[in-house]
């Protein structure tokens, strides 16, 4: 779905609705009968046109999806000997219990102990 298309559809809908409301207001409150009558005819014409193309506008708007899930992954690496822990961003291919090098403190085996993801919508 193109966002520009969606913006256009929303803009047209809003504009037509406002015009319709304005004309109906004129019809109700304006004292001159001629203006009243023309406003009513115009409002009806706009209303008919709007409802004629409403399904198309609705289809464009309806295919808009909710924001997709954006994830920020964090990987926690822990030494199996001395429990020294370090943290870094998640890299594709990480998995829990994957070997992650040597411990800088005790030279023991380090493994990925936790991976978690924080959510934000985009």
């Amino acid at each position: 779905m193109m966002s520009s298309q969606l913006e256009k559809a929303k803009y047209i809908s809003l504009l037509l609705s406002l015009l319709l409301i304005l004309l109906l207001f004129v019809f109700i409150f304006y004292p001159d009968f001629n203006v009243k009558l023309i406003s009513l005819i115009l409002a009806l014409a706009i209303g008919i046109l709007y409802f004629k193309y409403e399904d198309k506008i609705r289809k464009i708007i309806s295919s808009q999806l909710p924001p997709t899930l954006q994830l920020k992954g964090t990987t926690i690496i822990k030494c199996l000997n001395c429990s020294y822990t370090t943290e870094r961003n998640y890299i594709e291919g990480d998995y829990i219990m994957k070997e992650a090098g040597e411990c800088p403190k005790c030279k023991g085996q380090m493994v990925i102990s936790k991976i978690f993801f924080e959510r934000s919508s985009k």
Partner: protein
């Protein structure tokens, strides 16, 4: 000529014409009120139908996007073109065994699920011949999620079209009432695809994560198909920690594993760990314990574990981590993985309260082990 006359009359109206038009408008309004009082129900159905159609459009876009995403990832990563075979798999189905005669229904169901699993394995092998076992397992769960999303779309479309065809208010109404739940499920399935393709750990994997932490450096052995165990000395007890073999997307065969371990060792208790669906208002990642076989799926493993524990009179305890449906199938959240230590603490409490020192206990950790090794 008539048109010009009418226009002249409209532009220079007299009181008579104004009266006429006012009467006409009143008449139109009256007719509208009458029509609306008889057709309000139909209009309500129409509104429901529009709402369903709008969501069906969204769902269609979701399915198309999901399919394109999977194809793109497979093409990029493995340099293959899975389009034809993938499209054939999209409507794959499994017919449940007949349950009118309940004899061996679980065995028959297990057989069908085994055939299904082997069918998926053959499929992933054919589209990804160069991929590793773990990558193929991830592709398998990805395709399963895609099939589930496509099925959801087809079922909603079916009931909408049926409702329209039969002009049935009740079909449309029921579908409209269920729509928020169905759409929530659809978005969760859509969002889980990325995690499955990349092999990220998911919320449902909390069981295998607990198992991996308990196993630590201990050596693991295979005990059943796609299932491993390790013997660990902890809390002054001999723990046989069981989990599905990772890090590929896999749930293993915990029923067979527990059965084989009970046949091999004298077991004093079985403790099961799994993620469970929370009720709205409950905290994600909260840990609760109880009794019973904490394992989801079609019920084959649950039945096997319950049956063997009943036969051998072995107590069956359960520790669960609460999460909602979306959290269970999307990449794991911090509050869920942080419950690992609390689960291990709770297992220790159950062991100290209910088992003897140096006793043999099976810790069966259920869940999808995607992104969790051992």
């Amino acid at each position: 000529m008539d048109g010009c006359l009418l226009l002249t009359l409209l532009m220079v109206p007299g009181q008579e014409l104004q009266g006429w038009i006012s009467t006409l408008i009143s008449l139109i309004l009256l007719i509208m009120v009458l029509v609306l009082s008889f057709t309000s129900q139909q209009m309500q159905v129409l509104r429901w139908r529009w709402e369903i159609e709008r969501n069906l459009n969204k769902l269609e876009t979701l399915v198309q996007n999901a399919r394109s995403m999977v194809i793109k990832k497979f093409k990029e990563r493995y340099k293959v073109d899975p389009v034809g075979k993938l499209d054939r798999m999209l409507e794959f189905f499994t017919i449940e065994p007949v349950s009118d005669d309940p004899r061996y229904v679980m065995e028959r169901l297990e057989h069908l699920l085994d055939v299904r699993k082997s069918r998926f394995e053959t499929f992933t092998k054919s589209i990804l011949p160069e991929a590793s076992d773990a990558e193929r397992a991830n592709a398998e769960v990805t395709v399963e999620a895609l099939i589930a999303l496509n099925t959801l779309y087809r079922v909603i479309r079916h009931y909408l079209y049926l409702g329209k065809k039969l002009n049935s208010m009740y079909i449309i109404m029921q579908l409209h009432m269920l729509l928020p739940l169905l759409m929530r499920q659809a978005y969760a399935l859509y969002n889980c695809l990325g995690a499955f393709i990349d092999g990220k750990p998911i919320g449902d994997g909390i069981g295998p994560i607990v198992a991996a932490h308990l196993i630590g450096k201990s050596k693991v052995k295979r005990i059943a198909k796609d299932t491993v165990y390790a013997k660990v000395k902890k809390f002054d007890r001999n723990l046989f920690v069981v989990k599905a073999e990772g890090p590929g997307g896999n749930v293993g065969k915990l029923g067979d594993a527990v059965k084989n371990l009970i046949a091999k060792y004298r077991i004093d208790a079985v403790i099961m760990v799994d993620a469970a669906l929370k009720l709205e208002g409950e905290l994600s990642g909260s840990v609760v314990d109880g009794v019973g076989a904490a394992i989801g799926g079609p019920g084959v493993d649950k039945y096997k574990i319950e049956e063997i524990c009943r036969k051998k009179k072995i107590p069956l305890y359960a520790v669960i981590v609460k999460e909602d449906y979306e959290e269970a199938i999307t990449p794991i959240k911090k509050e869920i993985i942080d419950s690992t230590d609390e689960v291990i603490k709770r297992i220790g409490e159950i062991l100290l309260e209910n088992t003897e020192k140096d006793g043999n206990v099976i810790i069966a950790c259920a869940g999808n082990t995607i992104g969790v090794g051992q």
